[in-house]
Each structure stands twice: as structure tokens, then as C-alpha cells.
């Protein structure tokens, strides 16, 4: 038991430590970094910005966490986010009452419904046809942005709808809506996986698919569910991105968000090999990525170089995880290569 606890602590300790270090760097560079001020009943400040800008990545990463826990991966989430924005904006722009709240609700529901369909499609390829997840979702990753452009007719569709704009840029009870939505989805995911049996069954499928099958787990349904959920989360993220700018950019909305999300999951300690997952870890990972993106310009390095730091983060995380791989290796090596003990007598 103590070793289990220390393992959990170990997995979350490093990303948390890294996050804290980043925050400290920021404070040194900008002493006012932690200050949060109230203006017109809204909270502003660097920390709030990090949370708000990190919301889409967190959303996508939540879905990705569950997919990765089943030994899968979903590369298409960025494209799905773009499609969600495209569908919503096109629907609002095409409506007779462009600024009505009802229009926004209809548009967003429609967009999310499309995302669920796309998730069903991914899930079908993976769980029914049995295509490797990375390849199955590559299809939609490639075609998805084309589909988004098909929806927007290749234009950057701008809309003027206050209700829609609130999702990405609005405030409720002093907090940005984006933060509330992202945390709400995090909460719902936590309840959905830890209060129902979904989390345990997902982990069972990810750890030992054959044993899970023989124990009667419907792994096909489980796998299908997580891809739908991932697409749904990506859809909300896409709406948020489109709402923030009041425009659907089929080409650039959610570009590379799948990679950031995977990174967040990996930093959060969920293994790409599937199995146990940690939503808290994913939260920390997403915050880390966003804080990194904020920190770099703050300390006077061109913002674009954050790729470099992400690369370093990936490498460091991989190397931290590799003692496990090496431990596994050294066991087999011990079996095969230990010198003969009671030897050549």
C-alpha cells in the first residue's frame, strides 16, 4: 500500500513541481503575476488568462485521457473542433435571427450532434472494424479540415451573436465562462468515470482486454463510448475557440490541439500504453502547457519557440517514465543474463 501511494504521488509530483517552477519563473519576471483584479465585476489577471486560454486544451485532453486509457489515441480531435466551429458559425450566420439566443443554442446543439456523429464514426472504425486507433483517426484528421471548409465554403465565417460569444469570451459570476465550462466538463467526466463503473471498466479494457472480455465486459461499447466522448469534448473546445473570435477558421481553429492534448495527458502521468488514468494529472498537464505558452513571451523569448520547450517537456516526461520500461527490461535481463550462481563446479 505505501508503495502504491508513493507511486501516485510520484506521478503527480513531477508535473506539479514543473508547474510550480514555471509559475515561480513568471513571478520573478513579472512580480504582479499572481495579482488578480476585479474590473466591471469580472476577474482579470495572468492566472485567469492561463485558465481561460487553457480551457480548450483541457477539454480535448479530458476526452483524450479516456481514449488513451483504452490503449487508443484520437488524432482527429483538432479537425473535429474545427468542424464544430464551422457548423455552429455557418448555422448562426445563415439564420434569419442572427443575434438571437435561441439561434446560438440551436447552432451549438447542432455542432455537438455532428461531433457525436464523427465520434461514432471513429469508434466504429476502431471497435467494429478493428483498425488501429492511430490510423483510424488519421482518416478524419486528414479529411476533417476539408469537411470544415466544405461547411464554411472556404471562408472565415464571422458571426455576430452575443449569446454565442459568451461561451468563449463572456463572464458568469466574475469568472470567464470558458473556465466554468471546462471545469464543469472536468467535474462531469470525473463523476461519469469515478461515480459510475465506466472508469473501472475503461481501465480493465486498457490493462488486459482479453481478461476483461472473459469477465463479460463489453469492450466494444466501452471503446465506442470513449471515442464519442472525445469527439464531444473536442466539439465543445471547437465552439469555445470559434466563440472567442466570433469566427470559424476551418484551417487554423484547433490546429495542433490534438498534440497538445496528448502531451497534457502524458505529462499528467497517464501511460500511452493504456490502463490507469488520472484526470487530475491531465488537468495539471493542460495547465502546464498553457502556463508554458504564457511564460515564454513573459521572459522575453519569442512566443513561437514554445514548441522547443514542449519538445523538452515531452523528452523529460518520456525519460521520467522510462525507468518503468527499464525496470521491465532489467527483469528479463536478470532472468536471461545473470551470471550462473552455483556455477562450474
Amino acid at each position: 500500500m505505501p508503495d502504491v501511494r508513493s507511486l501516485v504521488r510520484h506521478q503527480l509530483m513531477w508535473p506539479l513541481l514543473a508547474l510550480v517552477v514555471l509559475l515561480l519563473v513568471n513571478v520573478v519576471a513579472t512580480p504582479s503575476f499572481f495579482s488578480v483584479r476585479m474590473q466591471d465585476g469580472h476577474l482579470y489577471g495572468s492566472l485567469i488568462d492561463i485558465l481561460r486560454n487553457g480551457a480548450p486544451v483541457l477539454l480535448v485532453a479530458l476526452g483524450m485521457t479516456l481514449v488513451i486509457a483504452t490503449r487508443g489515441i484520437d488524432l482527429s480531435v483538432g479537425a473535429i473542433a474545427a468542424i464544430a466551429g464551422a457548423v455552429a458559425c455557418t448555422s448562426i450566420a445563415g439564420s434569419s435571427q442572427e443575434s438571437a439566443t435561441g439561434t446560438a443554442i440551436v447552432a451549438m446543439s447542432m455542432a455537438l450532434a455532428v461531433c457525436v456523429l464523427l465520434g461514432l464514426w471513429n469508434g466504429f472504425l476502431v471497435s467494429v472494424l478493428g483498425i488501429q486507433p492511430i490510423i483510424a483517426t488519421l482518416v478524419l484528421m486528414t479529411a476533417g479540415r476539408g469537411l470544415a471548409m466544405l461547411v464554411t465554403d472556404g471562408q472565415i465565417t464571422t458571426v455576430n451573436n452575443p449569446a454565442f460569444r459568451r461561451l468563449g469570451a463572456g463572464f458568469v459570476a466574475t469568472l470567464p465562462v470558458a473556465i466554468i465550462v471546462a471545469l464543469a466538463v472536468l467535474g462531469i467526466t470525473a463523476v461519469l468515470t469515478r461515480r459510475t463503473a465506466l472508469g473501472m471498466l475503461i481501465e480493465a479494457v486498457g490493462i488486459n482486454p482479453e481478461a476483461a472480455r472473459l469477465a463479460g465486459v463489453r469492450s466494444r461499447t466501452i471503446i465506442w463510448t470513449v471515442y464519442v466522448f472525445a469527439a464531444f469534448c473536442a466539439g465543445i473546445a471547437g465552439l469555445m475557440i470559434a466563440s472567442n473570435t466570433s469566427a470559424a477558421d476551418a484551417n487554423n481553429a484547433g490546429l495542433f490541439i490534438e498534440l497538445d492534448a496528448i502531451l497534457a495527458v502524458v505529462i499528467g502521468g497517464t501511460s500511452l500504453a493504456g490502463g490507469r488514468f488520472s484526470l487530475t494529472g491531465t488537468l495539471v498537464g493542460a495547465l502546464f502547457i498553457q502556463t508554458l505558452a504564457t511564460t515564454i513571451p513573459t521572459i522575453g523569448i519569442p512566443a513561437e519557440t514554445n514548441y522547443l520547450f514542449k519538445a523538452v517537456a515531452v523528452i523529460v516526461v518520456c525519460l521520467l517514465q522510462s525507468p518503468q520500461a527499464r525496470a521491465a527490461l532489467s527483469v528479463t535481463r536478470r532472468l536471461s543474463a545473470t551470471p550462473v550462481k552455483a556455477g562450474v563446479a
Binding site: 513561437e304 522547443l308 519538445a311 523528452i315 518520456c318 517514465q321 520500461a325
Partner: protein, 334 residues
């Protein structure tokens, strides 16, 4: 249709003795697809059927061909390389910035190739010795290369070097007044060398063996480590070379060059009939895959009424068709 058979058998002859014809079915399918696309274009649009249009497919996609060749090596071992697009961008940046700094063009090129190969080598070492999944290791490589680009410059850097410009603009005239660029010739040479290495050397055959079954390859006493690391170095080299070709094509270095090009390369390899799980596929298939992608683009630009996004959608659909085909192919195998 007789042209199809003749075209494919000449390749079959090259590599004959290794495998029965069934192996070539996916490649032949790609070839038929390409020919029928071209045929359809010829019927629909005036001027489509000219040899120059055909050669332009090579000219305009020379860098992608080279990229796909490197990717073929990696995928044949059952791996994947997501870093290639970024390495192309990095290569254009290194070339442009060193040339601006007054380096001799040849030194600049050698530097580009060395950096690309080194990056690939590093990724291969990490993948093999730390047992990190190729996907995540090359993802790191992708970020790293992109980040290095921005470290060099955030702005686009034009290339004004005389040797680069002349290489970029000079052409070779083929019989029938068809022009081909040096870049296209280089791409074809790379395809030829790659095919030779894959089929005629122990390294190449070990690539296939590792893709077929890594455990078996180990038990057979083959140098699995060398091959697994080597294919990423090759892919890195090809990416750098593709980056040079791309900088000849664009005559500039820019951090946002070749965004998402790794997807095109992977798509070309898959459409070319290479099994993503490794062990099966031909470089020629990847060449054909690139030509199919190019033909789609040509098709759309000739049409004029079709919008550009149909390119992505049709690539996605083709990818789907080939992936599902592969799935049923491998299910029948097992």
C-alpha cells in the same frame, strides 16, 4: 490497360525472385487508380493528357516524394515519423539563414543534411533504447524542429544565392519538348536508391524482417537495433533532402513551411500500398501514392469549379479505402 501491365512488370522484373505477384496487388491497385484518374482527367479536361502535366506531377511534388521514401522505411519497420514536416521547415530555415550569413552553398547543404540525419538518429536511439513509442518520440522531434525554426528566425528568410536560384530554375529538356527540373530527377534517383537498398541489401531485407516480426528478426540473429535506429536516420536524411528541394521550390526559409506535410507523406505511403503495421510495401508504391495525391490536386485545379478543400476530403477518403482494404487483407492473412 496494356500499358498498366507493361509498366508494372518492368518493376516486377527489377525485384523478381523475392516474392510472388500477390505482393504487388496493392501497388498495382494504386497504379490503376493513378492511371484511371489521369485518364478521367484527360477525357474531361483539355490539355490534361499532355506529358508535361505528367512530368509536372514529379516537379511539383519532388520534395514530397523524397519525404515519402524516408517515411516508407520507417513504416516498413512498423514505426511512424511525425517529425518530417517540421524537419523540412527546419531545413529551409537552416539553408536560408546560412546562405544569408554568406556560407558557401555546398557547405550549407551539407549542414542541412547533417542536421536532419542527426535529428533522425537521435529519435531512433530514443525509440529503440528507451523503448519510447515512435509516435511520441517523433512528436517530440516535431516540436523540437519547429521550435528550432523559430529560434533561427520568426520571419521568412528569402534565398538569393546564385547556385540555389540557378538550380531552382534550370531544367532538362526531354524528348517531346517536356521540361523536367533537377529536383524531380533527384527525387527519382532517391526512389531508385531506396528501392535498391530495400531489396538488394541485408539492411533492406532486415527492414522488412523487423516489420514482419521484430521478435523473429531478433531470434534470427539480425541486427534489429541498427535497423530500427537506422530507418529514423534515413527518414531524417530524406526530410532534410526534401527540405532542400522545398527551399529550391520556394526559394525561402520559413518556420511555417510544410505544416502538416507529415500527413501528406503518411497518406502517400499508405495509398501506395504499404501496410501501416509494417513488413509489406514498396518504395515505388509510395512514389505512386505521391503521384495520386498530385493528380488529385491537378484534377481540382483543372476543374476550376471544385474547391480546394476537396483535395483534403478526397485524400481522407482514399486513406480510408486503403486502410479498410489493408484491414481485411491482414485479417485474411491471420
Amino acid at each position: 490497360m496494356s500499358a498498366v501491365t507493361v509498366g508494372s512488370t518492368s518493376w516486377v522484373d527489377r525485384v523478381k525472385g523475392y516474392s510472388p505477384p500477390q505482393r504487388f496487388v496493392p501497388v498495382i491497385a494504386t497504379f490503376v487508380l493513378f492511371v484511371s484518374m489521369f485518364g478521367a482527367g484527360a477525357v474531361r479536361y483539355e490539355g490534361f493528357a499532355s506529358p508535361q502535366v505528367l512530368v509536372n506531377l514529379l516537379v511539383d511534388n519532388a520534395f514530397l516524394i523524397v519525404l515519402a521514401v524516408g517515411m516508407t522505411f520507417v513504416i516498413l519497420t512498423g514505426g511512424i515519423d511525425l517529425s518530417v514536416g517540421s524537419v523540412v521547415a527546419l531545413s529551409t530555415m537552416i539553408a536560408a539563414s546560412t546562405l544569408r550569413a554568406g556560407w558557401p552553398p555546398v557547405l550549407s547543404m551539407v549542414t542541412v543534411l547533417a542536421v536532419g540525419t542527426l535529428l533522425g538518429l537521435l529519435m531512433g536511439l530514443v525509440i529503440h533504447y528507451f523503448q519510447i513509442q515512435p509516435f511520441i518520440a517523433t512528436l517530440a522531434g516535431m516540436f523540437l524542429a519547429r521550435g528550432l525554426c523559430y529560434l533561427i528566425s520568426v520571419e521568412s528568410i528569402p534565398i538569393r544565392d546564385g547556385m540555389f536560384s540557378s538550380l531552382s530554375s534550370s531544367t532538362i529538356t526531354l524528348p517531346g519538348d517536356v521540361y523536367i527540373t533537377y529536383t524531380a530527377v533527384i527525387a527519382l534517383v532517391v526512389v531508385g536508391i531506396a528501392a535498391w537498398v530495400l531489396h538488394m541489401t541485408r539492411f533492406g531485407r532486415t527492414v522488412y524482417a523487423v516489420g514482419g516480426s521484430e521478435a523473429s528478426a531478433l531470434l534470427m540473429g539480425l541486427r534489429v537495433a541498427r535497423v530500427k535506429v537506422g530507418v529514423y536516420a534515413i527518414s531524417g536524411f530524406c526530410s532534410a533532402l526534401a527540405g532542400l528541394l522545398f527551399s529550391l521550390y520556394m526559394l525561402s526559409g520559413y518556420s511555417l513551411h510544410a505544416v502538416g506535410m507529415e500527413l501528406d507523406a503518411i497518406a502517400a505511403v499508405v495509398i501506395g500500398g504499404t501496410l501501416l503495421t509494417g513488413g509489406r510495401g514498396l518504395v515505388v508504391g509510395s512514389l505512386l501514392g505521391v503521384l495520386v495525391l498530385g493528380a488529385i490536386q491537378t484534377f481540382i485545379s483543372f476543374d476550376g469549379t471544385l474547391s480546394s478543400w476537396w483535395t483534403k476530403i478526397s485524400i481522407g477518403v482514399l486513406l480510408l479505402v486503403f486502410v479498410v482494404m489493408q484491414r481485411f487483407f491482414s485479417r485474411r492473412q491471420s
